[in-house]
Amino acid sequence: MNSKERISGELFSVDLCGSLCLCGEKRCQRIHHRDTEFAQSFTESFLRMYLRQSCLLLVMVCGLLASSTGFVVAKEAQPNEDPQIEQRMKTLTEQLRCMVCQNETLDASRADLAENLRKEIREQIKAGKSDQEIIAFLTQRYGDYVLYNPPVKKTTYLLWFGPFILLIGGTAVLYRYLKNRREMIKESPLSADERKRAEEILNA
């Protein structure tokens, strides 16, 4: 790594490659040292640190980039594929979540899993499977979580209807509040009795 060591003897070099957070981007770092054991222990501690510290941050950064700039482009070029199949696959995978980089669609993710699933979906389209059949194939394996558009069922009632309940509840509260306020500020003229009593108090 530094030039002093480079001069003073035989060097071992180790390439450290980690699939960054499994989200597709590969990062490499080469380290040089005379001692293989050092290199090995360095490798281990580096990877451990790498996984623990950088992953969360990088997932967030890569999610942000992916969502804001369309930074992530599918790695594999498929020039020989039928554009019709590709188009169908794209519309399908845009609605599906990559399980590795959970804020990316299967369409956008460069994770190995996503690539593998795109290949699987491509093959199923070629085999004449319908979109529903392909989605069923995936939900059987990965659960409803793969769907960006979750199905309406018992466990998702709160998800689907919660916002409407909040809206209705909020409107009701607001209506009551405004009504009470209007009543509070309504001017009611004093009756003759009240006027008389008020004058008595004021003149006393």
Partner: protein, 183 residues
Amino acid sequence: MNKYLLIPLALFIGLAAFLFVGLSRDPRELPSALINKPAPDFQLQRLQEPTKTLSAKDLRGKVWLLNFWGTWCIACRDEHPRLIEYAKSKSLPIYGVDYKYANDTSDERTAAIQFLAEAGNPYTETIYDPEGRTSVDYGVYGAPESFLIDKKGVVRFKQIGPITDEVWYQKILPLAGQLNNEL
């Protein structure tokens, strides 16, 4: 009037409680679609003996653990020494699936054979899934993943990520013992 002042406070506490629970949960841990469902069948070559195959049906009548791993998977290397230790106790047979995806062109088989020879082999039997099909059938997305399968071939427990001592001794072993007593 004071009563109404408490409402925003109550709402805030409720929201804070929700968010607090959300913070302590790992978003990577998802309920498996496979729990209490039959383990998907496979028919794969054995890693070291390509002429022989192993299928999930061969293991009917046994309680066993299916562990998905690969030499490319860093967390699997972290888990490996513990698997060796667990395998020594012979309390639960561990079957390994060495997998990679089809777009990965590396020679995983050779690498895996070498890795097991060097680092030790905790697996009763290892099978090789070069296109990751079986891993997709099991819904694996965060290797290593392990599935505890009962005598009838039903998945009863799933661990995403490395098995820790806590998971092994407090969840997997007790459940395996219970499943062994089932008919």
